[in-house]
Subunit: 167 residues, 2 copies
DNA sequence: CTAAACTTTCAATAATTATTGAAAGTTTAG
DNA sequence: CTAAACTTTCAATAATTATTGAAAGTTTAG
């Protein structure tokens, strides 16, 4: 496999993966492109590489900046804006985990808490609803907490020792 | 909040969440409905509760069975098929994590491995591609392994002690 | 201040994905 | 074996989501 093929494969795989972390294709592809680029890229360059329109590029870059994983880079003497993404995978994972938690997981936990707190009228179906949503609530909270803790740590020693412990 | 409202809120929240674990709305809603039901439900009952067509119900039930989180229950003396979902959240999480890993994460890890193994032609851009995809590969593998281990364990003692350790 | 160089917005449209429902298929009671 | 009771399939359609591109907006060099 040559450079160009590998690059395209990476971008398209990572792009289609976007949905896993609640991000659309173009957004994920722009991030991928920046992630393996050796230098900041301008909007023109991104449009051309990915064959997407100016509007699309602009909107998705903004979203990536909202997620905190892409930032503007000003090149002195240049009028254009250039963009870079966080290059450290650990940091990237931290940002993504934090945003997902905030945008998606936390609100769901809230709903589960509300639903599981309705008053018990004694009927079997109400009891079941309360029991099951409470169980999900606890699971979701634990999972969310673990994810954040793990990803927030100075990874190396703790991850390694956890993995050993869990094997 | 009364039973009916709580139920609807739960089903619609959990349903819209489906996309987080790569499942469509109807599929997630059917699972939710079964999850808080006190008894197995027939296709008719599911259709009626969720206001979805017979075909839709049939297809999504099949998918849920493929995921291994819903199963047929035969009620003696009845011609119809009845359905139940795994009621234990721990088991549910295990199944979901396992399927996601198999369907989505493992294939991506494979691509990352391939891409990061292209021959180094000495150029900066090739070096960067290799370095970055290798880093992602390692991260993805570690995350996948941890998720599976955690979710596979007899949760209680290990989860609790891990959480303490991580706090 | 002006105009060129750029970016953003957003209505129209294209692409994708989910849903319907009727026809075909399957199972079982009798 | 037959027909009723059910389930599945799948082409057509509806709903949702992403994309385009031109017009409007913004910034800065001169």
């Amino acid at each position: 496999m040559e450079y160009q093929e590998a690059k395209e494969k990476f971008i398209s795989t990572w792009g289609s993966l976007g949905s896993m972390w609640g991000i659309n294709k173009a957004m994920a592809q722009i991030q991928s492109l920046l992630f393996i680029s050796t230098k900041p890229l301008s909007m023109e360059e991104i449009m051309e590489e990915l064959k997407i329109s100016r509007g699309n590029t602009s909107m998705n870059l903004r979203q990536l900046m909202d997620w905190g994983i892409v930032s503007k880079e000003l090149v002195p003497g240049e009028r254009k804006e250039y963009f870079t993404t966080e290059k450290d995978v650990q940091e990237l994972a931290r940002h993504i985990a934090k945003e997902r938690s905030r945008r998606e997981i936390k609100p769901v936990i809230k709903v589960l808490k509300d639903v599981s707190s309705i008053k018990d009228d004694g009927t079997a179906k109400t009891k079941e609803l309360i029991k099951q949503t409470k169980a999900l609530h606890d699971l979701a909270e634990t999972a969310d907490a673990m994810m954040n803790k793990i990803v927030t740590q100075e990874q190396n020693w703790i991850t390694k020792s956890l993995l050993k412990l869990l094997k």
